[in-house]
Symmetry: C2
Subunit: 256 residues, 2 copies
Amino acid sequence: MEVTFSALKSLPMIEPGDNLVEIIIANIKRNGNTLQNGDILVIAQKIISKAENRYLTLSEITPTLRAKEIAEEVHKDPRYVQAVLDESIDVVRKKPGVLIVEHRLGFIHANAGIDQSNIQHPDSDERLLLLPKDPDTSAQKIRYAIAAQLDVDVAVIINDTMGRAWRNGTLGLAIGIAGIAPIDNRIGKNDLFGRELKVTATAIADELAAGASLVMGQTTEKNPVVLVRGYPFPNKTALETGTPPLIRDKAQDLFR
Amino acid sequence: MEVTFSALKSLPMIEPGDNLVEIIIANIKRNGNTLQNGDILVIAQKIISKAENRYLTLSEITPTLRAKEIAEEVHKDPRYVQAVLDESIDVVRKKPGVLIVEHRLGFIHANAGIDQSNIQHPDSDERLLLLPKDPDTSAQKIRYAIAAQLDVDVAVIINDTMGRAWRNGTLGLAIGIAGIAPIDNRIGKNDLFGRELKVTATAIADELAAGASLVMGQTTEKNPVVLVRGYPFPNKTALETGTPPLIRDKAQDLFR
């Protein structure tokens, strides 16, 4: 088996209101390529958020007393902390320099995934970029628009850079999914020797998101869309899709 | 940028004492390919462990009282629990069906990575397969042997399937590394707009391990070696290598 991760070349900077699907399709055509059934597009969260105008202006945020108290503890701007809290259900851990929350979408994410770097604006220090409002829906819309225009069924994964427990360094992980099951569930299937495999539930959407992250590089502005070709995933349309299966139920999570 | 993950075709089953490097080089030649400087080989832990004869026979293990007590709590064979404890520094979490430990190598790993499935033996229920004794050294030996025989500098990553906090499904992650920095550390480098990136330390070895896992498939016996080509990583020889930088210091880990 051979799987190829290719960055789309020379995409323009994305601005609020941009039609990402048009831009992606035009780019692929310009580079003499085409989309095929079974292709997977992995798209950096940042450009989805930009196209959806998920900006906030720091100076327009009024922090609550709670945000001010947390900001003092974690050494962050109270207005930034307010934005993080507004995107979150719960604070999971905090210490100086660290604010880890349960995002309203269910992800455990430092700073609710709100980023200040790589935002193109003269006074970018003043702007924040939130995660997309509903990344699964964003992914599904892109998938449907591509199907409508090119008559191909591609899967779409929106990835973001996330930290994790126990290990240093971030990984690209899936925050929005359409057209592919997030988990390849082989519990109970037989292994090569006919012995029952007890638990093999592979987070394939996260593995795809991580592999694509390598090609995006550090500044995802440069290569924010990655075409994955050659990965055979089963029966796309019938599968449970979207990110919810990736999120461990709070009651089952030993590390909250 | 384009990165390709290719599984080596039709590798034989690996037995204790097998010379993995000879087998891999012969396989690549037979398939009309060759290794190049900058290639990365991702190798499934299981075949490293097999070649290194890291088997234990369940019937030869005598569980301690502590292993018996934990076994009762987690509903596992006390001899299996004893093997897990023998490979571990500490029990991190346990509940029925779940035993998460700090492996002696530093990884937080369910069952210390000891696996019972996919072990080729008539009475495979009776055999356990431990992680390699020192996976970084195993990776380095393979790297050096390839350099000696083919005069190419390849990086080697040994990966294993691991669970994580907060999210369901396993990922392929790096447990042994040679010839590539585990983390691409861009803290303080400028982003596209000259603004200082605050924290971007990407666990590239884990992203490579995860991408390779897709190609290995569920039963890593089938495709246990993946050649990664096209990923430009900096200056291989001068880098800090091995897995220690991936392991978060216990005192800094908010999720122990």
